[in-house]
């Protein structure tokens, strides 16, 4: 518990200008949806706000079914379906300075993936440094139950769509550039997506990944 609170506190310190707000029906005001609010909401309701739960929505596009479209501003991931619909999932995205936009593809997939923090994360984060040689897959692993590895021109981008051991964090700008989902959602996505699927990442004002 202390470790969880310490982690939330660290995230609050590192938090950027917040991108999501939640409506407080008691005060009738919109309040910033920060890690503390998110953790409290999840504790009270046992789930994320309804907008971030998996649902089928209208989605007018010429992109092929099976294409993944990520709206980093609104914290949604769309999986394009037939008949101008998509399955919409809630996501967490990169915090300030770690967001990106671009067109990539799913290079490979893994169940209960091993997590090896990149060198720059090892250098800046003592928690990550403990796992410099890799952390085995499992419920405490930050990549969660599944990972979809994002590639560009056959090369690993270092970015992934993955699960999380912090399910309350959906809807936040919180990651180092990866797209995080609740484990149930990432398992659902994993089962529907094939390697080679196109992934379009939209995020206002973010750095463009190579090639675009």
């Amino acid at each position: 518990m202390i470790r969880v609170l310490a982690a939330i506190t660290a995230l609050i310190v590192a938090a950027p200008a917040l991108a999501t707000q939640i409506y407080n029906p008691n005060t009738r005001t919109w309040v910033d949806y920060d890690p503390r609010q998110a953790a409290r909401y999840y504790q009270m309701h046992g789930s994320v706000p309804k907008e971030f739960r998996r649902q089928v929505v209208r989605f007018r596009t010429a992109e092929k079914p099976g294409t993944i479209i990520i709206d980093g501003d609104k914290h949604f991931l769309y999986l394009v379906q037939e008949d101008f619909t998509a399955i919409r999932y809630g996501i967490g995205v990169g915090r300030d300075g770690f967001g990106w936009a671009g067109i990539v593809e799913v290079g490979r997939k893994a169940e209960w993936p091993r997590w090896t923090p990149p060198a720059e994360m090892v250098a800046r984060d003592p928690e990550a440094a403990k796992w410099a040689n890799g952390m085995p897959g499992g419920p405490e692993n930050p990549l969660g139950a599944r990972a979809l590895y994002l590639y560009e021109d056959g090369r690993d981008t270092i970015y992934r769509i993955h699960g999380t051991h912090q399910p309350w964090s959906i809807g936040l700008d919180i990651s180092s550039g990866c797209i995080r989902m609740n484990n149930d959602d990432v398992i659902d996505l994993y089962n529907r997506v094939q390697p080679g699927a196109k992934v379009i990442v939209l995020m206002s004002g973010a750095a463009l990944y190579r090639g675009v």
Partner: protein, 100 residues
């Protein structure tokens, strides 16, 4: 006494009307910055790639905003060249042009 009762009833009625005016929104969360729906942004990108003969792999929305009246402005990059698109809720594009 009668005046007091009438005043109290009027205050109660006003309070009820005030609550109606401040009805809670249907959404429980929102983004702090309003942007165009993702599907409309991509419709702009697709049309721009076609119109300017640029690969769709090099065409991407880079930002968007709400103009009001059901219209949105979408900023695009077309192989590095900036462009602007105005699209409405019905996916009708009224403006599509290179910038600069």
């Amino acid at each position: 006494m009668r005046i007091a009762v009438i005043a109290a009833a009027a205050a109660l009625l006003a309070a009820c009307q005030g609550q109606q005016a401040a009805a809670p929104p249907t959404a429980t969360v929102r983004a702090t910055t309003a942007t165009a729906p993702a599907d409309l942004q991509l419709i702009c990108a697709s049309k721009a790639a076609e119109q300017y003969n640029v690969s769709s792999e090099q065409t991407l929305p880079t930002g968007s905003s709400v103009l009001g009246g059901g219209q949105y402005e979408v900023q695009l990059t077309l192989a590095g060249a900036p462009a602007r698109c105005v699209i409405d809720d019905n996916a009708e594009i009224s403006t599509l042009a290179l910038v600069g």
